[in-house]
């Protein structure tokens, strides 16, 4: 394995910091394992393969959303943020404010425990937990909100410790690397998200404790929080691509560090202006605000596309300098047998599909028609599983052996898990999006409607179930292999993952057309999906306006 910033930095951390990171990653993998089990149960119930009954079914559905969207994604982010902050700064000095970081993991773990208690002690609230669904205050409902608030407080602590850690090189008069600058931006957005969580869940907790009235503005506060929670994992994903590609190939951006920093800053610039589309389902939203929100939402993918372009253009230019021929010949030179490269490659493809489909949903005229259909889980799993989760797992494939000093088992198996997960995802997503276009409702466990539903609905949900099972197998194996590495079992150094070394300078006028071509394909997909959705919706004998539903 290469000895560069990520790997050598994590390996050089003091033992106390390594123990702390292991706690973050163990909790992340535990949450992922639980979430996968909850998700598999939900998918099997929705497919009609098992009958869980309404209570157990909604517990599984809620548990899936809570453990994956809140705990897996944020335990993983917290650990990876700390790892990058230290590895690209002064790794031997370790984390600044270590007790604060330790408090962070303790608070997040307490949050997970409270959330799990609430899942089984109260009516399942779904992961967005609107208070009106709970109807009555109770200790278990209070535990649900307290769990989210403990998670948020923990994230704030971790982000503050990460920022303090990145300041060390500046104190020596050095400037931030791109990874350090982007880590600070990531930490800042995590802090903002923690504040947004307190505005959303604080009043609900007071109500659930019997100390206040039921909040009337919950959905607006939730939408702000939810918008940030969309952005954070994607921002983390592209930063990890940036770091991992350098690890795997030695390639840094040919456009320079300054341009990369501007691109990462653009994530932050565009977070607030693009947030209005979450409000499209609110019936009292003024029409001019809808129009402005619709226009601004088009910018949402700009930073992600820019980072993708920077990485692909840089890779292609370096590969051509190494003698690559033909339009796509350079891609064959990438180290695809490396499990992290395989995961990143499939993550990029899944991001294109999920991103193009997301543009259908953020259009003001289509949002009310599709937001409560199975279109939503159909498209967002391309992002949550296919893009973000595969990328986080790719990062753990490199970070865990550096932490434990033990090679991962089954590197050959790991290489095939991203395609297996993607195969499941394609089945799940294609059938799910089609089902959504045909009106299959979201969050309804049994869509047969006593035999009155169209026959195609049942067929499509069966395909969703099969796809869900394939994803379960892939992610379950990932969790097993990575968790075993955290156990103090004897294991040798292991074989090095295949990598290439294309570092050095290349001419800026080198041909690199794959990136722009990929963007053209992405735009074409967006047009096809949007036009298809409009035509389909125009053909339906109904009209919809907002109904204050929840994403």
């Amino acid at each position: 394995m290469s000895q560069n910033g990520l790997v050598s930095g994590v390996a050089a951390l003091p033992e106390a910091d390594k123990r702390l990171l292991k706690l973050f990653f163990a909790a992340a993998l535990g949450a992922l394992g639980l979430g996968v089990l909850f998700g598999a149960s939900t998918a099997l119930a929705r497919a009609g393969f098992v009958d869980l009954g309404p209570l157990a079914g909604y517990r599984a559905m809620s548990g899936h959303g809570v453990t994956i969207f809140f705990y897996w994604l944020y335990f993983a982010q917290a650990g990876l943020l700390l790892a990058l902050a230290a590895a690209y700064g002064a790794p031997r000095a370790g984390f600044a404010l270590r007790p604060l970081a330790a408090s962070g993991v303790a608070l997040m773990a307490a949050g997970l425990a409270a959330s799990l208690y609430a899942l089984y002690g109260a009516m399942p609230l779904l992961y967005d937990a609107p208070p009106e669904l709970a109807r009555e205050p109770s200790p278990a409902v209070a535990a649900f909100y307290a769990g989210y608030l403990a998670l948020s407080a923990g994230l704030f602590c971790v982000a503050a410790a990460a920022v303090a850690t990145t300041l060390r090189p500046l104190a020596r008069g050095e400037s931030w690397s791109v990874a350090s600058f982007a880590s600070v931006a990531w930490a800042g957005l995590l802090m903002v998200t923690a504040i947004a969580a307190f505005t959303a869940f604080g009043p609900s907790l007071m109500w659930a404790l019997g100390l206040g009235t039921m909040p009337t503005n919950y959905s607006t506060a939730w939408h702000v929080l939810f918008h940030n929670m969309h952005y954070l994992p994607l921002m983390a994903t592209v930063l990890l691509w940036y770091v991992l590609i350098e690890t795997l190939t030695g390639v840094k951006s040919i456009l320079g560090a300054r341009f990369s920093k501007i691109v990462f800053a653009s994530y932050l610039i565009l977070v607030p202006p693009t947030s209005l589309y979450h409000m499209f389902l609110e019936p009292d939203l003024a029409e001019p605000v809808r129009v402005v929100g619709s226009l601004l939402s088009l910018f949402i993918s700009v930073p992600t596309v820019l980072v993708f372009l920077v990485i692909v253009v840089s890779l292609e230019a370096h590969a051509r300098a190494q003698g690559a021929q033909g339009l796509f010949g350079w891609m064959r030179m990438l180290p695809w047998r490396n499990p992290a490269m395989s995961a990143i490659g499939f993550a990029a493809a899944n991001l294109a599909l999920g991103g193009a489909l997301s543009f259908v949903l953020i259009q003001e005229k289509l949002a009310p028609l599709l937001s409560d259909t199975f279109f939503v889980p159909g498209y967002f799993h391309f992002l949550t599983v296919g893009t973000v989760t595969l990328t986080f797992l790719a990062a753990l494939v490199y970070a865990l052996p550096a932490l434990t000093g033990r090679a991962l088992g089954q590197p050959g198996l790991l290489r095939w898990l991203p395609p297996l997960a993607t195969l499941g995802l394609v089945l799940f997503g294609t059938a799910g999006v089609t089902a959504g276009y045909l009106g299959v409702p979201r969050r309804v466990l049994d869509v047969s409607y006593a035999g009155d539903a169209p026959a195609a609905w049942g067929t499509l949900m069966s395909i969703v179930g099969v796809g869900g099972l394939l994803m379960t197998v892939a992610l379950g194996l990932y969790v097993l292999v990575l968790a075993l590495n955290l156990l103090p079992l004897k294991r040798g150094a292991g074989a090095a993952y295949p990598e290439v070394r294309w570092g050095g300078e290349v001419a800026l006028d080198a041909r690199a057309w794959t990136g722009p071509l990929a963007i053209a394909v992405l735009l074409a997909l967006m047009v096809v999906f949007s036009v298809g959705a409009f035509e389909l919706m125009k053909a339906l004998p109904l009209e919809a306006i907002g109904g204050a539903a929840h994403h």
């Binding site: 931006a185 800042g188 300054r258 610039i269 003024a286």
Partner: protein, 58 residues
């Protein structure tokens, strides 16, 4: 001012402006948005100042 500091200050300006819009313009009146973007503006201002101060101690 370092480029890192400048970029965070730019973020602060955008977030603060939007917080003001959400707090004061009746058409966009959403206090929850104003609170979150407003606190966010403060955080990025602090990050910008930290980056600038540390750099100046060279």
């Amino acid at each position: 001012m370092s480029e890192d500091s400048f970029l965070f200050i730019a973020v602060f300006v955008v977030w603060a402006a939007l917080a003001v819009v959400y707090a004061t313009v009746p058409l966009f009146h959403m206090p929850e948005y104003a609170v979150v973007w407003g606190w966010g503006a403060v955080i990025f201002l602090v990050l910008g100042v930290l980056a600038a101060r540390r750099r100046s101690r060279r």
